[in-house]
């Protein structure tokens, strides 16, 4: 007898699968739960990390930053840069760079008539800032700055509360000029913003870069240049060009080095996703092996008969592997569908504001948006199918090695 065509193997496997439908259904349920859990959990994790990274990069800001080499260790006005020169600007105007901006960022003290607080004063160019860092939509009261020489200041809602001040009132900003003289100036509050991470509202106040430069006698100098491209994952493709154009006397860092917490996050998550999938698979695999062993065990005589009639061991092997493959495939189909069906209604975000302050420690906002990624779905399915088939080889191989005479006389 020659080898059975694949179609016959398929039919045999399919019918065998439903001889004991209860067992098959239970195993299907297990595979479904496993596949669902893999995809669902991964989508939540990815959503969280995406949010964390986008928030984090907005906050840095930019996917690439240029600083004075000592600025990061000593964020003082003395460690400033000259504004971007022509050569750098021409590189920053090329795609995939989508936006860039220059900022002054110095420590300062902000005082109302009643209270004072330490803050970071950020001088921004309103025209280019909104594409990189501060989001003009966040201004909930009043207006955003109009131009670099705007005389107003924008503070966070939380900060306004702390200072017992409000829109239209005046506050005093105190900082240090390059000669270490205290420079101070009154600003009118023209806008109040609300940040996704509430703690930022107490950290940053924004004023026009021209006004700040004049106040601090900076003479056109800036603290940082922030540059953003179209995809934070692809920053490696273009940041060396920026580095070259900026010259050796400046420090150019991509986001994952500028904030190593964010940088490690991506790698840790990738590792975690794989570990999670393998662990779920292992928990599932015991059931799979057991199901196959039982399916083989109760068919020992039948298998013996097939062998005695001249069926090749390889055909027995592929028949049982086919059975396992079908089982896995159906389970995966249902599991995937279920995962997509449960993630869909959650696309508008899951409200986790009940643990908002905890999530803030991790750097995510209080809405969790699951991110279903094709590559994760493929990974989950590949893990289950490939490892599933590998686990099935042993019971299938044993079945194909039966001695026909012994097997026929079993029982």
């Amino acid at each position: 007898m020659t080898a059975l065509p694949i179609k016959s193997i398929f039919i045999l496997a399919w019918r065998n699968l439903w001889r004991n439908h209860r067992r098959t259904l239970i195993m299907l349920a297990a595979i479904t739960v496993g596949a669902w859990a893999m995809i669902f959990m991964t989508a939540l994790m990815r959503g969280m990390v995406d949010d964390m990274l986008l928030n984090g990069i907005r906050d840095l800001p930019g996917e690439v930053q240029i600083h004075h080499p000592e600025y990061r260790d000593d964020p003082s006005i003395n460690n400033s840069l000259g504004a971007a020169d022509e050569q750098l600007v021409s590189v920053m105007e090329q795609p995939p760079v989508t936006a860039w901006t220059q900022r002054v960022r110095v420590p300062a003290v902000i005082s109302s008539e009643r209270e004072s607080r330490g803050v970071t004063l950020i001088g921004i160019d309103p025209a280019s800032e909104t594409d990189v860092g501060f989001d003009a939509e966040d201004v909930k009261q009043g207006r955003f700055l109009i131009d670099a020489d705007d005389k107003g200041i924008i503070i966070g809602a939380k900060m306004a509360e702390r200072l017992e001040t409000r829109l239209g009132k005046r506050i005093v900003i105190m900082s240090q000029d390059p000669d270490n003289n205290i420079a101070d100036r009154g600003f009118r509050i023209v806008g109040i913003y609300k940040a996704k991470l509430a703690s930022l509202e107490e950290m940053y106040v924004y004023a026009g870069i021209g006004t700040v430069q004049k106040l601090l006698k900076m003479d056109g100098q800036v603290s940082e240049i922030a540059i953003t491209g179209d995809d934070y994952r692809k920053v490696d493709a273009w940041y060396p060009r920026i580095k070259q154009a900026a010259g050796d006397d400046k420090q150019v860092l991509p986001w994952y080095e500028a904030d190593s917490y964010l940088g490690s996050m991506l790698a840790v998550m990738d590792g975690f996703v794989l570990v999670w999938m393998v662990v779920v698979f292992l928990a599932m695999s015991f059931g799979l092996v057991n199901t196959l062993i039982m399916a083989v065990f109760e068919r020992v005589r039948e298998i013996g008969l097939m062998l005695a009639l001249g069926m090749r061991p390889a055909t027995i092997l592929s028949q049982i592997l086919m059975e396992s493959f079908l089982l896995l495939l159906i389970g995966l189909l249902i599991g995937n569908t279920l995962a997509i069906l449960t993630i869909m209604p959650l696309q508008d975000g899951i409200d986790i504001s009940i643990v908002a302050e905890g999530m803030e420690m991790m750097g995510t906002s209080s809405m969790l948006y699951p991110a279903l990624k094709l590559q994760d779905v493929i990974l989950a399915n590949a893990v289950v199918l490939i490892l599933g088939i590998i686990t099935s080889v042993l019971p299938a191989w044993r079945a194909s090695r039966y001695d026909p005479i012994e097997a026929l006389n079993k029982n």
Binding site: A30, D73, N180, M265, I293, F297
Partner: protein
Amino acid sequence: MNITLRMAWRNLWRHKRRTWITVSAMVFSNLLLVFMISLQFGMYRMMIDNTLKAFTGHTQIQRQGYNDDPKIRTSIDDIVILADDVRDSLGSKEVAARGISFAMTSSEQRSYGLQIVGVEPEYEPNVSSLPGLVKQGRYLADMDAEEIVIGSVLARNLRVKVGDELTLLGSGREGSIAAGIVIVSGIFESGSADIDRSMAQVPLGYFQSLYNMDGAGHTIVVNTDEISRVTELQSRVAGIIPANKQLEVLNWEQLQPGLKQAIQADMASAWFMYAVLIVLVAFSVLNTQLMSVLERTREFGVMMALGVKPTRLGSLVLTETFLMSSLGLSIGIILGIALTYYLTIAGFAYPGMEEMAERFNLPARMYPSLSVLSILLGPGIIFICSLVAAIYPATRLFFLQPVIAMRAV
């Protein structure tokens, strides 16, 4: 030995391989759960300890409203006297008063706005780890000395060393200007760049005169040896403080809601994962037991014909599951303890973990902490779920008709 027990035990080994595979599923999950839960407990404990030890403390007495909206005027009058009272009443030294404000701090070359904390030099070391982390110079000594201790990052940024002068400029309680000159007496390294960059401590007496506080301060930290008894401490302290001064006692969960919530969020996602594992194990048990019942239909039919009651057969199946789960439980726990115990000594690290750990005040190497709860919690749930999973196969026996069952293939 009970006959049901003996039969169940023998039945279990009719299909050795199947039983062992199902037991392995349990062992695998139990091992994982013991390790994971111990690791979680160890991590939470460290997160809490390290965060609270650095500064916040276990409980604090504050003027009502100060926690939500810390203003210099929301203060406690005669705070040193109150702190002494609390110390006497509790018979504990782990009580220290503080005043908190902001100041523009300038050295000759640099200026930064930072948080200035006025502390009682005698008692602060009892409630916080910072005084012990002074690496250069010494901690504050005199209640009224014009001295300051600052973090190492700040010292670097301000370009000062021990013995240098700093100018403080802020606003006092009634809007007056607070200005003073202090000598750096010590520099601490807490390990958290955030704290080392943004905090400075001065003696409370000096703080009060600088900010025109007139004997007032902002919080009194009260610690306990055992953090699990913090609610008890909280109510004891609440009984001591005067009722008519608008004071309140807050515990660490109220003072650091982020910490508690980070733990809750982590707990929730961890339990989602555990639930998946547990459900998968339960399916495994369900499948095995259902098969073992179905393949014995004929045998059960005979037993019933001989007068054995379905309840007895049901309890036989449950006993089998019980024995199987006990096996999984004990092997799983033994291996789990072995693995976890090894790691409590050796510790373990995960690549990229360092940066994340630092954010939550954790060391780069993780050490799980074994406890009765962390050992029994996961395996216990798996044990119960396995028994529950066997209920369906067991109930099938009640619908068995002896005559038909005996003819089953």
